[in-house]
């Protein structure tokens, strides 16, 4: 059976709605952030965005001439205080995306960012949070970008765990103690979630 033209068009629109693409590298490496097509970061108790920042991600040329790859999300309409948590996760190759998280106004200008000292390690994940209060209601976008000052550096992480050595019919358990070099990279994945501030009743 061949669907009618209006039905085909409707199906195409419905399919495309689920495949909306974020701004990509085709726009070149620009001095400004490009928020066109940014999806909305909803404040939710459960939703998590997995931002993939690889070679095809949009690129920003920084004031010092360095380049950062980034992904951009539109902020949800402000209703009450909330926070955004970003988690940069280590890949199997022991690479860790070197993140900067910035906030933009409606003109895509940076208003603030998460200071470097607020980032903490939770195991092999690098995480930080940023709050949005009434005075931030005019902010429009959240950018997760690579930190050109950190890319290429290595971070030493000691891995201490249980080590299992298989013998013929049994296993020998001991302690493992190794120092690993995590390489900070321009490309990788960052989870982003927005949660209501539980301290506001």
């Amino acid at each position: 059976m061949t669907p009618s033209r209006p039905l085909t068009a409707l199906l195409a629109v419905a399919l495309l709605a689920g495949c909306e693409t974020l701004p990509n590298r085709a726009d070149g490496c620009l001095a400004e952030f490009n928020p066109r097509g940014a999806k909305t970061l909803k404040v939710s108790w459960s939703a998590t965005w997995n931002l993939r920042i690889y070679e095809d991600a949009p690129c920003r040329r920084n004031a010092d001439g360095s380049e950062s790859s980034y992904q951009i999300l539109a902020l949800d309409e402000y209703k009450r205080p909330y926070y955004v948590q970003a988690l940069s996760t280590t890949s199997r190759d022991r690479e860790l995306f070197a993140p900067v998280v910035a906030v933009l106004d409606g003109n895509a200008k940076v208003t603030r960012w998460i200071p470097s000292e607020k980032w903490v390690y939770r195991g092999d994940r690098l995480t930080a949070s940023l709050f949005f209060n009434a005075e931030n209601a005019q902010e429009r976008y959240l950018v997760v970008m690579s930190n050109p000052l950190k890319v290429g550096q290595t971070v030493k992480q000691r891995l201490q765990d249980q080590e299992r050595t298989s013998l013929l019919i049994a296993s020998w358990y001991g302690g493992d103690d190794r120092e690993l070099d995590l390489k900070l990279t321009r490309y990788g994945e960052v989870q982003v979630r927005a949660r209501q501030d539980p301290s506001v009743k």
């Binding site: 939770r122 201490q160 302690g175």
Partner: protein, 241 residues
């Protein structure tokens, strides 16, 4: 411990009995809640509650070789750990090192560094966890409630060094509304899965290959622990800025 690939049924209860001596490695159970300082600017004076830590110090191997010997192995390992911990505690008393005082001093210094006025509130805690019901403490804006689950020197295995180790849970509570303003867990010298706790690497300078090295250089050993507490307190102070 020795784990047979297909253990005979009769051995299972005995193995279970033997494993009863294994170390339970408990990460503080503090739900993650970041601090919205911009919204709570009225919080300037923090009441630092007596921390929920014992004066016990542990010297332990988390995965001792003895655990591979069935039945008696874990019991032997537990005996060694208990003996070492007891000797190390005696050394702490000789050196004038107090777990609780070190933790309290570190926290107060870090909070003051973060711009808060701090008053110490001495109280008898019902247990080692967060306090369930807070009393009224007039004059302070918020209460910092902390508890520890591990403190001492831990090694991952029998052939790996002992390092200073501190596990801490921390919670900031509004003194009037009792609303939790901040909550998180901290682990200095993480071994194994530490869940969502903030992990801080122990300083390399305070790795001791053998237990006897700890006893031989007590000044250095307790300085390593002090640094562990300070590292956690400093990170907490940064997160409360």
């Amino acid at each position: 411990m020795l784990r047979l690939t297909t253990p005979p049924r009769l051995l299972a209860p005995l193995l279970l009995l033997a494993s009863a001596g294994c170390v339970s490695y408990e990460v503080p159970d503090a739900d993650y809640q970041p601090y919205n300082r911009a919204l709570h600017q009225h919080i300037r004076h923090i009441g630092l509650l007596s921390p929920g830590v014992e004066e016990d110090l542990q010297v332990r191997i988390v995965n001792p070789a003895e655990n591979n010997l069935p039945l008696l192995g874990p019991l032997v390992a537990e005996g060694v750990a208990a003996s070492r911990s007891s000797r190390f505690e005696a050394l702490a008393r000789q050196q004038g090192f107090s777990n609780r005082a070190t933790m309290t001093d570190s926290l107060q210094a870090a909070l003051e560094q973060a711009g808060y006025t701090v008053s110490r509130i001495v109280l008898e805690r019902p247990d080692e966890r967060f306090i369930r019901r807070y009393a009224d403490y007039p004059g302070v804006d918020a209460l910092l409630d902390t508890y520890g689950t591990h403190a001492g020197y831990y090694a991952a295995g029998s052939s790996t060094p002992f390092r200073p180790t501190v596990f801490l849970g921390a919670r900031l509570v509004d003194a009037r509304s009792r609303t939790v303003l901040f909550s998180d867990s901290f682990v200095y010298n993480p071994i194994g899965d530490t869940g969502d706790a903030i992990t801080l690497q122990a300083d390399k300078a305070f790795a001791f290959a053998y237990y006897e090295d700890l006893e031989a250089t007590p000044d250095k050993a307790f300085e390593g622990l002090r640094q562990g507490y300070q590292a956690i307190a400093n990170k907490l102070g940064v997160l409360l800025r």
